[in-house]
Amino acid sequence: MFYRPFIPLALFLFVLAAPELAASQAIGSNPSVATVAAVQDAKGLNEWLRRMHEASKNRAYIGTYVVSSGGQMQSAKIWHVCEAGQQTERIENLTGAPRSTFRHNEQVVTFLPDQKLVRHEKREALSSFPEIVQSSDHHISDFYKLKFEGVERVAGVDADIAVLVSKDAMRFGYRVWTEQKKGLVVKLQTLDVDGRVLEQAAFSELLMDAPVKMDKLLQMMGKVDGLRVEQPTLVKTTASAQGWYLPSSVAGFKPISCYKRPASAGAASLAEDSMHWVFSDGLASVSLFVESYDRQRHIKESGMSMGATHTLTRHIGGYWLTAMGEVPMATLKQFANGLERKK
């Protein structure tokens, strides 16, 4: 009776306050806070990855790089320079058969002096990473978390240690040492789901901002006199055009590219060209090679792990799948189980 006149006023004030009330409840609720944190994590991770990628392109250096994988240790000397957005690199391997590899952006020239052979190739994957980071938004952060572990001196430079922890068991983690000034990767470990080191690559010697001349490297790259020239061509295609599809891919892995490969040298004369379908989650890649089944060569399904690289073969109808990637074997099995032939 006393307060009845105030009811309409109270209702009016409630209508005015309702949006603010809803917003305050939303701020206090976990899903909203988690979303903000997730976006911030994604931005931080993507920014860190972009900085690292830029440093690998833009810093000039000369160094000796050592890779330990599958019980083997191999090394190479690297000269790298970037001028006006153009990247040029020379790699001389110090173990195994002599080999000199030159790269100018996506063009790769490999000299094999023992065979008096030079091979020209184009490798689009070398420039595809920025597009992966940009197009996938924060997808990489959906599957990896970035943590900083400290500082360590590697090959004479101070480096920040970061760990990319995988959020599920379908991919490996990474421990990355980046030199503090610009973010060049100076050491990299691939870690299994238990944190054990599967593979390691690092500079044992490094001279930053070295006086590497691009024109000199390009000159060396063009010296093919007296050598047999090979220029393998890979034909771009799509898995669908080749008659394959993967209805349910492994979480985080997107198809990156698909190529036709020539049939194996030992294959039957009527064998079709094989297909090379590449997937990536931004950090790890998986290749699915599919070729015609040949009972002479494809004896039994098997698997192998060499360092971080795992390989699996599977007989699918009239075809033979070889799946390989720097991922756990369970991930390759999931790919193999999901691959289907179009009817």
Partner: protein, 198 residues
């Protein structure tokens, strides 16, 4: 009870039987390296194994002829029945600590002791082995665990020329900035020899 003037061999036998002996009686034990002590120890060990039902073929270091004679003699032994068990009729019962059935047998204590010592030795070896490994190049040590070639139940994979070709193609096409420069270096120059992994 073991008398003071018992021979050292009888003392050894008493120990195997798990009889309690005093410190003074222990002093009568023959020295570990004295003549015949080791062979006596071995004999009493074999006797114990036979009594526990091990076949003569399983007892290490035993003289098979001796085992056969022992087994034959044991078969002719008269086994006295155990005392009649007491039926509990009720009333409060003092509960004593549960003891293992073989608690009186000293050699079981020896076995347990050696097993514990062995476990400690293995742990110590593992720890000292890991510390010795720090003298190796860090990279090689870190990846020792990675040198496994795991095989599916169907069998191991053969690393032939075709597989090497596919590996090379995979390394070239993999898209990851993390692999720069190691990935590029790897597929530029590091192709494993065909003989490895077989």
């Amino acid at each position: 009870m073991i008398t003071k003037d018992s021979s050292g061999h009888e003392m050894l036998s008493a120990l195997f039987d798990g009889r309690q002996v005093s410190d003074g009686e222990l002093a009568n034990l023959p020295a570990a390296g004295s003549h015949g002590t080791h062979s006596d120890w071995n004999c009493y060990h074999v006797i114990g194994e036979v009594l526990r039902g091990s076949s003569s073929a399983e007892v290490v270091g035993a003289d098979p002829v001796f085992l056969q004679r022992l087994s034959t003699r044991l078969n002719h032994e008269v086994v006295e029945p155990l005392a009649t068990p007491v039926v509990m009729t009720g009333g409060p019962v003092a509960i004593s600590a549960v003891r293992a059935a073989n608690d009186q047998l000293f050699h079981w204590k020896l076995v347990a002791g050696f097993a514990s010592l062995g476990a400690v030795a293995v742990l110590a070896w593992t720890l000292t082995g890991s510390s010795i490994g720090t003298s190796l190049p860090q990279m090689a040590q870190d990846t020792r665990a990675a040198t496994q070639v795991t095989a599916l139940p169907e069998g191991p994979m053969i690393r032939d020329a075709r597989l090497e070709e596919l590996l090379s193609a995979h390394k070239q096409m993999g898209a990851s900035t993390l692999q720069v420069p190691s990935g590029f270096v790897r597929h530029a120059g590091f192709e494993a020899p065909l003989s490895s992994g077989r």
